[in-house]
């Protein structure tokens, strides 16, 4: 080992040399080196001064009153009532059924399985006769059509017939297909009104000619 390495090694051990933390062999080696090396002796003096400064900063000693104070406070803590821990919602529910030991995971799993089973049953296995659907009545509405070569005269005569039969004209619309006349007619006069329309042109009755309001709808078509 070179002298420099010896010095480095010795300096590293100076703290333990002074605090007597070296084994006997190491202690002897440091002692021998210090006898021959002024640099390391100076380093030793500096280390002594360093440790002396640490001694100056020694914290004060705590007296027995410290432990007494801690003990007093602990006794106060022991006297305090133990707060009741908040119960989770699950625990509250479980407590309502004391004879059962409910565990969250299996119970939730069971609920999910039941829901899936119900869904599958209603989707795939429910018989069709089980539920009888309500009968739906379909009414096809088709206005009366009156084909005429003189649309103006036919319309005029139809209006006059409405008034004669004590009915009233609810609407009159001109469309691409013709003129659409909507008439409100007393039921007992319907037959007479229809007879009159037959005289005005070719009348076609192809279905239910009354709208939702019960009014007769006639489509006047110009054949010219």
């Amino acid at each position: 080992m070179t002298k420099r390495m010896k010095c480095e090694k010795t300096k590293d051990l100076l703290v333990d040399y002074l605090t007597q933390d070296l084994d006997p062999g190491e202690y002897q080696r440091v002692e021998s080196h210090l006898k021959t090396c002024k640099t390391c002796r100076n380093a030793l003096e500096e280390m002594k001064e360093t440790l002396h400064l640490l001694d100056l900063a020694q914290p004060p000693l705590l007296g027995p009153e410290f432990t007494k104070q801690v003990t007093t406070d602990i006794e106060e803590i022991e006297k305090e009532p133990i707060p009741t821990p908040k119960q989770s919602l699950w625990k509250k529910w479980s407590n309502l059924l004391p004879s059962y030991r409910l565990k969250p995971v299996p119970v939730f799993a069971s609920i999910i399985i039941v829901c899936i089973g119900v869904f599958i049953y209603f989707t795939y296995f429910l018989p069709e006769t089980g539920i009888i659907p309500k009968k739906i009545e379909v009414t096809f509405f088709r206005p009366l059509t009156l084909k005429t070569g003189d649309l103006t005269s036919a319309l005029s005569a139809a209006r006059a017939a409405v008034h004669l039969c004590k009915g009233e004209i609810a609407a009159e619309e001109t469309r691409a297909s013709g003129v659409r006349l909507t008439v409100k007619m007393p039921v007992e006069k319907e037959a007479d009104f229809l007879e009159t329309l037959k005289d005005l042109g070719t009348l076609s009755i192809e279905g239910h000619y009354k709208n939702k309001e019960g009014q007769i709808v006639i489509l006047f078509i110009n054949t010219l």
């Binding site: 605090t19 640490l54 803590i77």
Partner: protein, 200 residues
């Protein structure tokens, strides 16, 4: 009094404390009060009363949490960590109040109400020991500047007079690491002392 920092003896005391035996906890307080106080003393800005308060709070917190302590860990390490966190909390609180430290005590300044004096009883310093007091403060500041790892080792080795193997057990580190940290701590302190003019 039993040997301080006896790892195996601690186990028994801790178990008894966890089972509700208050005397066992008191014995632990008596064992470790100086070590914890030393730690707090150097962590906080050299004020004895703050260090006492921090130490006191540490033991109260430890008592409340003793049942959570796992017996296989070193009790001192656990206690030391509580002290560490307590000191940090105290520093945070004091920073909020903008406390200025003076030799004769502490003046707490509240921004809203104006200057307010709070009395902390400081140790009386005779005039002829003023130089010593200044040196002590400088050393404390140098200690405070050490990292927590280095400071904890030097406190146990130099002030608590523990051997490296006992330090290793209490801090849950290898013995070689304890030695290295002690040497590094002293080296750093020497540097600091030289800069502050304490070493020629």
């Amino acid at each position: 009094m039993s040997t301080r920092y006896d790892y195996d003896e601690d186990r028994e005391l801790v178990e008894n404390a966890q089972n509700g035996k208050q005397e066992a906890f008191e014995m632990l307080v008596e064992k470790y009060k100086q070590g914890i106080f030393n730690k707090c003393y150097f962590h906080l800005p050299g004020n004895k009363n703050l260090a006492v308060e921090a130490s006191h709070m540490t033991f109260i917190k430890a008592f409340k949490a003793i049942k959570k302590f796992r017996a296989e860990a070193a009790f001192y390490t656990w206690l030391y960590r509580i002290a560490e966190n307590t000191c940090k909390d105290i520093i945070k609180e004091k920073k909020k109040k903008e406390t200025i430290f003076l030799n004769e005590g502490d003046i707490t300044k509240n921004e809203e109400d104006g200057p307010k004096r709070e009395i902390f009883i400081h140790e009386e310093t005779p005039q002829d020991n003023l130089e010593k007091e200044e040196i002590r403060e400088t050393v404390q500041n140098c200690m405070k500047n050490l990292s927590e790892k280095l400071r904890s080792v030097i406190l146990l080795h130099y002030y608590e007079k523990l051997k490296y193997k006992d330090i290793a057990k209490n801090l849950n580190i290898p013995e070689g690491t304890a030695k290295k940290r002690a040497h590094a701590a002293v080296k750093n302190l020497q540097e600091c002392f030289r800069k502050k003019g304490l070493l020629k």
